[in-house]
């Protein structure tokens, strides 16, 4: 039994660069599956990098961001901090960077959808806006002058 213990066994673990590369590859594979599922079922998907890449630094996700490239659309949401929203070069795959009010990065998410949910105006907000607009019109001094000829 003691002899068995002396058998030299070396477990080869990948180094950090290899682990980062493997993680990026895994995420890209998952994105391919999420896009395929979205096209066939309409089901959206989200990968949260703060959770998925929790053993890594935010900077180490930059090569993945570069591999996904930049698409045609970008937007910024402002409220409770801000969110930078960019479509990647793969339509339907969006990169969202969440920042808090102190400009600290909270998380990065990759969303698979027609467009990120955050961009969509919500019906209750639209109704409140409509009410404000109506009040604005009521409060104006007069109706716009109508030109006559």
């Amino acid at each position: 039994m003691n002899k068995a213990i002396t058998i030299p066994i070396a477990v080869q673990k990948p180094n950090r660069a290899q682990r980062v590369e493997q993680l990026h590859h895994d995420i890209l594979e998952e994105l391919a599956q999420l896009v395929s599922r979205f096209l066939s079922t309409g089901e959206k998907g989200v990968i949260d990098l703060r959770i998925r890449a929790q053993d890594f630094l935010a900077d180490e996700m930059q090569p993945l961001r570069e591999r996904l490239g930049k698409g045609e659309v970008s937007a910024k949401f402002e409220g409770f901090g801000h969110v930078d929203i960019e479509e990647t070069s793969y339509p339907g795959i969006w990169w969202l960077s969440y920042f808090d009010a102190e400009e600290q990065l909270e998380t990065q998410q990759i969303e698979v959808a027609w467009f990120p949910n955050l961009l969509k105006a919500q019906a209750p907000d639209i109704r409140q806006g409509a009410a404000r607009l109506a009040a604005e019109l009521l409060g104006s001094d007069a109706s716009p002058a109508v030109e006559t000829h």
């Binding site: 703060r50 409220g79 409770f80 909270e106 949910n117 955050l118 969509k120 907000d125």
Partner: protein, 331 residues
């Protein structure tokens, strides 16, 4: 419509947050916060607490419809856990703990004192019997007649038993409540024991650490709020979602050790990321989320700042031996 269907439809353009009276939802409506802003808030919150992204809409729904009652009681402790909870995070944690939940009793934070405070606690426990969450920090002298820790004329054991009797479950926050901590360290003059040694007929969740990471404390509460169930626990009653891995296995210095780069006190290797195990780092046998969630809004953690892990989330860590004594084993 079931609750699940309701939460699934929360991202529908037609969905209206219920905004029940007394909830965060009502407060947001009154403040004129948009639904989009609220969803952003919930997404960041779930991510910060290492909860799956799919839980964000569920959390949004839960925050707008309910406001669970929390009774937070302190025993033999230093208030470090509460400091961690309320001071370490700018906005979201305070929002969650102080507005999402109804913190009905906390001796340090509440304005009331004396009999008025005790009456408020009793009223909250009666009103929310079977539903309130009992959060405890500090360890408790096992002998009710020891004379150690008496508050409002009651022994610690009596106060804890009374408070836990009608709680939904108990969260033991900090290593004192979870494992005895400093009061329970040798020679343990007060005969201090952890909460789970006294409360046997109720689920006790240990959120250990000296102190625990604030997001871990609130993450457990948020998990319960969104799932109406507790997360999976390890053999030490700690949530595996936060305590499933050792600090060493997630540490950025771990692979440097494998490459032969280890640190000595004050040398260049220590500054260059060499593994701190030779300096007594307890990371290899300490289960915690410090290396992944980090502290101060994810800024850093002790090892990143150059000091080895002291193993504060493990049972009996004050009796491990010297902080700088090299440990064997672990991963």
């Amino acid at each position: 419509m079931t609750d699940l269907e309701k939460t699934d439809s929360i991202d529908s353009p037609d969905f209206e947050f219920p905004a029940e009276p007394g909830t965060v939802g009502e407060r947001l409506v009154n403040l004129g916060v948009s639904r989009r802003g609220f969803l952003k808030f919930c997404t960041a919150l779930t991510s910060t607490m290492a909860l799956e992204a799919s839980m964000a809409p569920k959390l949004a729904y839960a925050l707008t419809t309910s406001r669970p009652c929390i009774i937070y009681m302190s025993f033999q402790e230093c208030t470090g856990c509460l400091e961690s909870l309320v001071n370490s995070y700018g906005t979201t944690i305070e929002n969650l703990i102080l507005t999402s939940f109804s913190l009905d009793y906390q001796e340090t934070l509440q304005a009331a004192a004396g009999t008025a405070a005790e009456a408020a606690r009793n009223e909250a426990m009666t009103k929310n019997a079977g539903k309130y969450i009992l959060v405890v920090d500090g360890s408790i002298p096992a002998n009710a007649k020891s004379g150690y820790f008496v508050s409002a004329g009651e022994s610690g054991v009596d106060r804890l038993n009374k408070a836990a009797a009608n709680a939904a479950f108990v969260v033991a926050v900090g290593s004192c409540a979870a494992f005895g901590g400093l009061p329970g360290a040798s020679p343990n003059p007060t005969g201090a024991v952890p909460v789970s040694s006294i409360i046997k007929n109720k689920t006790v969740v240990n959120v250990s650490g000296c102190p625990p990471i604030a997001e871990v404390i609130t993450g457990v509460l948020a998990y319960y709020l969104t799932n109406n169930a507790l997360p999976a626990l390890d053999a030490n009653k700690r949530p595996t979602m936060y305590y499933g891995k050792t600090v060493h296995s997630s540490c950025y210095r771990e692979e440097n050790e494998r490459a032969g780069h280890v640190a000595n006190f004050g040398d260049a290797a220590a500054r260059a990321g060499g593994c701190l195990r030779p300096l007594g780092c307890k990371g290899p046998r300490t289960h915690a989320a410090c290396a992944t969630m980090r502290w101060n809004q994810g800024l850093s953690f002790p090892i990143q700042s150059g000091h080895g892990c002291i193993g504060c989330t493990e049972p009996g860590f004050w009796d491990f031996g010297g902080l700088y004594t090299k440990t064997s084993g672990g991963d």
